[in-house]
Amino acid sequence: MTALAFDTLLAIAIAATAAGAVVARGLYASIALFIIYGLMLAVAWVRLEAIDVALAEAAIGAGLTGILLVGAAARCRAVERRTGAIGDGSGERRTLLRTIQGAMAGVLAAAVGAAVLLLPDSAPGLTATVAGTIERSGVSNPVTAVLLNFRGYDTLLESMVLVVALVGVWSLGAEQFWGGRPGLKQHARTDGVLAYFGRMLPLVGLLVGIHLLWAGAHAPGGAFQAGTVLAAVWLLVAMAGLRDAPPIASMRLRLLIVVGPAWFLAVGAIGALAGSFLGLPEAFASELILAIEVLLTLSIAVTLVLLVLGVPRRTT
């Protein structure tokens, strides 16, 4: 009973923050509500007994996405202030159009909701299949087993999607800054509070990241969550002005970006030559998964940081 009451409150909070993010007038208000929505959603994932997803949603869905949106909003506002065009403007007050659009969205939501109600209340899914096979996967956390072994091919392609996004982001930079450093230069007093925390928090973050990576084999955690924590550490260091972002022409940086996906791909290719594409021999499966995860975590962390920092904006 208490659980259902809590779930109901949580569901209302999720729906309300989502609705607020859609209708809020100001861009910043929308984004703030979206981030709160993401955190509420992470709690919902905990309620659904999906801690791995809760970690990913809080760190990536709410955290990094929020940072990206805030950054875009800030640049858009700067442009709008310069050109004098503020706010949504066009078509915001056409009631009839709004009603039609609302009705369309409502029909879609109702149809999906009806499907939810029509589906049976109990469905085993693949829980038993995973449980029956997991001892051959090399890890004991079922989510990691699916991500890195049973459906490792998806994860391989997914790691490529991140690299594609980064290439796309970089390709949008200005020609004259090509090869330069992304983002703006951050200044911080070396004796300031920020600089102090910027030195101390990374150590803690590093520990948390490594713990998440290590724990992923048997408990919630894994490469993507750990990568996000490490990315956050780096971003903090960059924002505190302690360490400047590297120039994108840096060979070391580029190797860091590709090392995880490349190693994963190499494991897959060797398997394919030996007769099983992406096959991890049972005897070394846990070691191989750990090696893939360590390198993937590095690459993911670097790629996420660079995705947030954006296009190169200065040559020095």
């Binding site: 659980a3 949106l69 442009v79 706010g87 939501a109 999906v112 939810v116 899914g125 796309g168």
Partner: protein, 106 residues
């Protein structure tokens, strides 16, 4: 009603809200935000349906959702970079209205 159904319906509602935001809001950052709402609504729906499993939440959807969250972030990063590039180059934060014919389209 169980908590599972509740979160499933919430997911459906969030999808609808996101679609509304996508068509009704014209600021490009709002639209990207709406995409993320739709995506996370789909994920929540998936998670709710996966937890119908009697012995613990089905791990396969959990893994798929993590993949989906990462892919959504990649798309968002590309989208916001395109938006800021467009805003800084053209001074606009909305897409110009569709003009179908004529040579001005490009």
């Amino acid at each position: 009603m169980t908590g599972i159904t509740l979160f499933g319906l919430t997911g459906a509602l969030v999808i609808g809200l996101g679609v509304f935001g996508l068509v009704a809001r014209h600021h490009l950052v709002h639209r990207v935000l709406a995409f993320n709402l739709i995506g996370s609504g789909i994920f929540l729906l998936f998670g709710a349906l996966a937890s119908r499993s009697p012995n613990g939440t089905d791990p396969v959807p959990q893994a798929l959702v993590i993949t989906g969250i990462v892919v959504a972030l990649a798309a968002t990063a590309l989208a916001v970079t395109l938006i800021t590039r467009f805003a800084e180059a053209s001074g606009r934060t909305h897409l110009p209205d569709d003009s179908e014919d004529g040579d001005g389209a490009v």
